[in-house]
Point group: D2
Chain length 277, copies 4
């Protein structure tokens, strides 16, 4: 029996759960998992259900549309591995972590390709029999280079694009091409230490905790909806290199946790925030 | 408009959400918050809803009973402050924390009384104009002393009994008198270091992390369902007294977090585990 | 036998440890605890020793001065309880926590007085038989009010001033009066969310972690050397009030941990950072 | 100029630091880093110094021996990359993490070989051009198999042996062959959930936190000195497989942090505990 993930994002209204569950019940579907959240401030309703049964997806979507408020977002995703493309630059800690999970079978995704703006990571990626494309940015305008990257990504038509320490700033055009599809790990505990050399900044400020933030990329650099965060303790004996080492451990774990949530369709974007169901 | 908390604990079945939401919809109730969880291993269904509207509680319970499987547990609690009694011995860190929250208005509870087996804490408690009863255990059998404590508690008919470092072992009789009403904070990170002097044990073992566990008290000492846990880092420079100091911070925060969950009716007991909705 | 805490802060130089230990050895002193740290970037040397024996403090300081580089900072503090004054406004969670620790004997300090700019906390403080002074700021210029507060503090001549959620901005004059004596708990995880309503800011940003920072107060608001930090996890189900509740737990624990470090003379200020020995 | 790490482990005595620093000063050595710890309970003294200069190691050791108490342990290690051998079975998360760090240049070690009791990990290891040896245990007595493993390890004469999820119990003979050289990551938060299937145990117990413990291996299974620990939060929605996934993240980070401490000679064993300097 096939499994689907039903995702509903709409305004809250009396009888919403009743109306949705009536449709599911009438279609003789099993609800394997179900989670809802109402945001009372904004009167928004979010639902994620894992359902199984003999479904005619189009019919079901049509029936749900009829009982839901206008402008509701309704998705019915087959429960399968998503296809992803990874962008990177030179650092291998996040990428390497994804590769190890991949061959482990622990990543619910197919890595279609790794695209980088340097050659450094080719050896590592090709060890794992994954296509590697270097799209050099040397002597190019930002926009022209980005166009090449977009073109390369589109060849693989991925559902998600994972920035695994991709150190280039994306333009609004990129975001427009792949809306709500781009996951980034920020080398810092947002909203602090935005910008270059965050570990030097943190070291200079004498912080006792550093962290990492995984977030959707939006037009507003480093300001997209936060999906996952974590921290690690440091102290005065840490050089900034030690802080970077500690921070990298957090980065790779936070990115992988956030990616897992996306692969399971558990993340709703809501204003500049996320609801995780 | 009155608010109620509806709690349902039953076996999972097709159409459950549909049937429940039909009843709520038919009664014209607003669902302010809603959370469900299905445990697939055991086929159990849990639901917590905050509802508002003109309710006839008995009628509603009757209607819900009709659409739910036999032996379902259905509760409809008015959303009010619960009444609690605190048991203590000599240590004041957990008790003091509850008292400060209480006068702060941060505790959604009325503290009816504090009962202790020593006089030490009388001064502190009476500063806050809360009745204090010392039920000394000196020269008494465990059962006889406990009977006096039970009697004293019953005068206040509390919904919850909070063991704020009450250092005496409770007999099954006590648990039977107050089933699923007794919250304890364990001076350790269960299931490790059960027993006396946990901080000396932890120090001797050279652990790098210590913690605390808030749990329901059951017949099986220190083995009741866990509600909340937290930890704190320690190192070789910590004497066992330093570990105790660090541990006490964790104890009071974990106990207060767990109590908050109970006061909001968010905890379902399920086998020897809890589901927090 | 008396115990002293020896604190040395100087430029690093070859033979430093040798020269210091020679003096201590020649004076027949026991070294109960010893910790040193060399910051290689800045070539600074820090040492904290707990020593016991028959000491003539002035003689010892003189002998140490002779073997140390010019402009070294050398302190020899008797190991006793420090005297502190607490400043507060209306919130009681941090103050209350200090009071409970105080009567517990867990705070290595004598609380000489609590000074507030409102009357709200008088009842709580006087329960503990501690002098409470309300220095109202109503209808006063900032400087004039602060002068009154400074005057009131000086009556007690405290070694440390603890801002337990004192919600007024201090002027450089205040800092000049009490250099490196003022400890603050920042209602946020610095350097993020500086300013008013940090929990609303954090809620609006949709963060998954909130924290608190204890730091020395300097002229540069909220930018003084960080002494301790901690965090707690939150999620989309947290209202900003829930975040505040969670944040308050962190605030009081972080402040109390930082204060403990100060009371044990374990904190060296170093540029805008701290070294904790 | 060569750098050395000087490690001293002895009984505490008056003048110890003076005597040691006198020798270092007389030899005209620079002290790059220095850390000491005195355990007052046991009267033990530990020191770790990074020193540089023109050293005759044997002379220096001789001079230090003369001024230190009898039976002192004094080591002078050249500051170089240590050689390690990794033992594994089938799981790749810890091993993979080490391999990625290795090619990153982030691991201060040379991985001489990976030895496993199954063939599963050969492909992964050989991608990184590291010798892989499968020493199958099939149809063999524990002792006979272990003898083969010991023999294979000895060919590489490593300074450290890292058990990266090596799922076989070691006999006292193994420990005797490689005393204080074997690092293990325990799939649990010791001392809880010792034994098989810790994540099932943790899931069954309904814990809210799981963790991992890196420790030296001693004769007493899972009871060796703890080097590093960490935890991660879980809740009722985690299946035991989810707990395992979360736990694996902790395992690999804790193991790598502990290994880093060993590679920098920062760990002293002391009874069944560790001092980290």
């Amino acid at each position: 029996m096939k499994e689907y993930i039903l995702l509903i994002d709409t305004v809250d209204a009396k009888g919403l759960v009743y109306n949705i569950s009536k449709v599911l019940f009438a279609n003789n579907l099993n609800i394997e998992q179900n989670a809802e959240y109402v945001d009372n401030d904004s009167n928004k309703f979010f639902m994620r259900s894992v359902i199984s049964g003999d479904v005619n997806p189009n019919m079901l979507l049509k029936e749900l549309k009829e009982v839901l408020p206008e402008n509701s977002t309704i998705k019915l995703n087959k429960k399968t591995k998503k296809e992803i493309v990874i962008l990177a630059t030179k650092e291998s800690h996040v990428l390497g972590d994804l590769l190890i999970r991949y061959i482990d079978g622990e990543l619910d995704a197919n890595i279609k390709a790794v695209i980088a703006n340097h050659e450094y990571l080719r050896d590592l990626v090709e060890k794992f029999n994954i296509p590697f494309h270097c799209v050099s940015a040397e002597n190019m305008e930002r926009e022209a280079h980005e166009d090449l990257v977009i073109e390369q990504i589109k060849e693989y038509n991925p559902e998600l694009i994972v920035l695994a320490k991709y150190m280039r700033i994306l333009t609004p055009k990129f975001i427009k091409e792949f809306p709500q599809q781009v996951l980034n790990i920020h080398h810092s505990f947002l909203p602090a230490f935005i910008g270059a050399n965050p570990y030097k900044q943190a070291h200079h400020r004498g912080v006792k905790i550093i962290g990492a933030t995984a977030h959707y990329v939006t037009d507003d650099l480093d300001e997209g909806p936060i999906i996952a965060q974590d921290v690690v303790r440091v102290d005065h004996t840490f050089s900034w290199q030690d802080m970077r080492r500690a921070g990298r451990n957090v980065e790779k774990v936070v990115l992988s946790n956030a990616l897992q949530l996306l692969l399971e369709d558990k993340v709703f974007v809501f204003g500049n925030k996320t609801v995780i169901l």
